[in-house]
Amino acid sequence: MKHKHVFAIDIVLIAGTLLVLAGLIGYSRPLVIAPLPGFVTADTSVLFEFEKAGLILIDDNPDFTSPDRIYAEDNLVINLKPGVYYWKVQGIAGTESEIRELTILSEVNLKLKQVSEGMYEVVNAGNVELDVEVYDDKEIVGNIVLGIDESKEVSGTKFIGSQKD
């Protein structure tokens, strides 16, 4: 044990190197800020906030078998359809952040504008395609399909909107 102090320096140097490397890996790991884990909203525009990353991966399954890849240098608002999503960000050398879940709730929203006596403009103001049943008194007289933000003029006395299959 003649060179005991040399071995001590060896150990300190190796341990120090490993610690610094671990710190560097932790420092370079991308950080996701928002949306928070398990975030649920009916708003289809979602702000993604993150640091130390340049690529957002969004998929409808946590295995990320077919993710949408969105290159972004900064925080970004992404429009998503209603559904459950999993997302993460990728930084340098492929380092990845934690995976977060995000739910966009479907919203059925029907707007009725009177055009003339008995005539209405029916507007889909929600975030899903709508099936609208049109009634005249108690009798069903028609059925219209409205895409998001689409409108049609129809006559009737009752309008029932539901999410299309």
């Binding site: 140097l13 490397l21 340049g54 340098i92 479907s106 059925v108 929203n109 029907l110 707007k111 009725l112």
Partner: protein
């Protein structure tokens, strides 16, 4: 009544008269899906959205196949104009048994017509929105539902065939995979792909994927036929997709035997890179003078170009009065509502016309990586310092100390 009260009353009546004749009602979520378990009891909540911020009278009712198993907890109520949304609940109490498959009910939220209002600005119609309840009852044994999605081609020609598979049976699917055959429009098989293999627990969803490199496949329509194999059963799915764009390419434009002042014969060699014939193609050539004003416009007859072949298209330009020089030009290839555009320069000389500018490079769009440069620099510097410290110690200082 004093002046202030009279003013407020008139203002109120005017506001009602000028109010837009709009009714609006929202509900979220539009659908709740539940997996069946015998005797399941659950409270489901949803939000009613007062989108137009109006006073509303609301009635809630259940309808559809499962309506007898639903209890609405708040059947009628009013919402004031200040109430943007209201959370409402209903309770489902399912029976001990239901047949396999999908069972549904609808919770209808009805906004009653604004009858008896002071102004004429009211809507006599009733508006309702629906939140659906879907109850999935597992099929006996093993049962899979799947769809086939084609994603791509990417810039490198890779096409992903993604199959989301839902295990709808009572038992887990142990071994799920698929083979995908790719066919041309002439029904010739050009590739067979195998997906990854997964196991899917009952009532869960997973994806299987296969990737095809289409970079060497001729552009055109294709058909994917997927055979999903799960344990001892199979399921076949089909999807049409396209590789590349329906595109015509100008390879070369030549003018031979030309004398200034005569009629120039433009021979344009056009390649159809699509694997189907393109019909009714014609060229349109615009030539601009030094002031960027149109000085000539001429078209070719129409041509039908066979798949993956080249055709010579001819058009004529009367150069009477044209002076020697270089002119800007635009060539359009028009077909079936589409057009391909090329910007060229036409060099006109006494006895020749040269067409300059055919053939160009498309620059690859790279992902932005600028923000990470600083981070990379820090990491590289830190690692270099670590390596140097280690080298310095193990190769020099350590030996030196030991030798003392």
């Amino acid at each position: 009544m004093n002046n202030k009260t009279a003013f407020l009353a008139v203002f109120g009546i005017l506001a009602l008269l000028l109010a837009p004749n709009v009714l609006a009602l929202g509900i979220s979520p539009g659908r709740t899906t539940v997996d069946f378990t015998p005797g399941l009891e659950r409270t489901v909540s949803f939000s009613i959205v007062n989108s137009e911020n109006k006073d509303m009278n609301i009635v809630v009712a259940a309808q559809g196949e499962l309506k007898d198993y639903i209890t609405i907890n708040d059947k009628s109520f009013s919402m004031s104009s200040e109430e943007g949304s209201r959370q409402v609940t209903y309770t489902i109490r399912l029976p001990k048994e239901l047949s396999p498959g999908l069972h549904t009910a609808e919770i209808v939220v009805l906004q009653l017509p604004e009858e008896g209002k002071l102004s004429e600005a009211y809507i006599g119609a009733a508006l309702a929105v629906v939140t659906q309840l879907h109850v999935n009852v597992p099929y006996p044994g093993k049962y899979a539902e799947a769809s086939l999605n084609v994603i791509g081609p990417e810039s490198d020609g890779k096409i992903s065939f993604v199959m989301p598979v839902l295990s709808r049976g009572e038992f887990d699917l142990v071994n799920v995979r698929a083979t995908i055959d790719i066919y041309t429009s002439l029904n010739k098989k050009v590739a067979t792909l195998n997906t990854n293999e997964v196991s899917i627990p009952s009532r869960k969803r997973k994806e299987i994927v296969a990737v095809w490199d289409s970079s060497k496949a001729p552009p055109g329509p294709y058909r994917a036929v997927a055979t999903l194999l799960y344990d001892e059963k199979s399921l076949t799915l089909e999807k049409d997709f396209e590789v590349g764009e329906k595109r015509l390419k100008i390879e070369k434009i030549e003018v031979n035997d030309f004398s200034l002042g005569d009629i120039a014969k433009f021979e344009m060699l056009v390649e159809n890179t699509w694997s189907e014939a393109v019909r009714g193609v014609y060229s349109e050539m615009n030539i601009y003078n030094k002031d960027k004003k149109l000085m000539a416009e001429f078209k070719s007859p129409t041509y039908d170009i066979d798949p993956l072949s080249k055709t010579l298209m001819v058009s004529f330009w009367d150069t009477a009065g044209v002076k020697e020089g270089t002119y800007d030009s635009t060539v359009y290839l028009r077909y079936g509502g589409k057009s391909e555009k090329e910007d060229l320069k036409i060099e006109v000389r006494e006895n020749e016309i040269n067409v300059i500018g055919l053939g160009y490079a498309i620059s690859e769009r790279r992902a932005p990586r600028g923000e990470n440069n600083g981070l990379v620099t820090i990491l590289v510097i830190a690692i270099v310092i670590l390596v140097m410290i280690n080298l310095l110690w193990f190769l020099f200082l350590r030996r030196k100390i030991k030798s003392r």
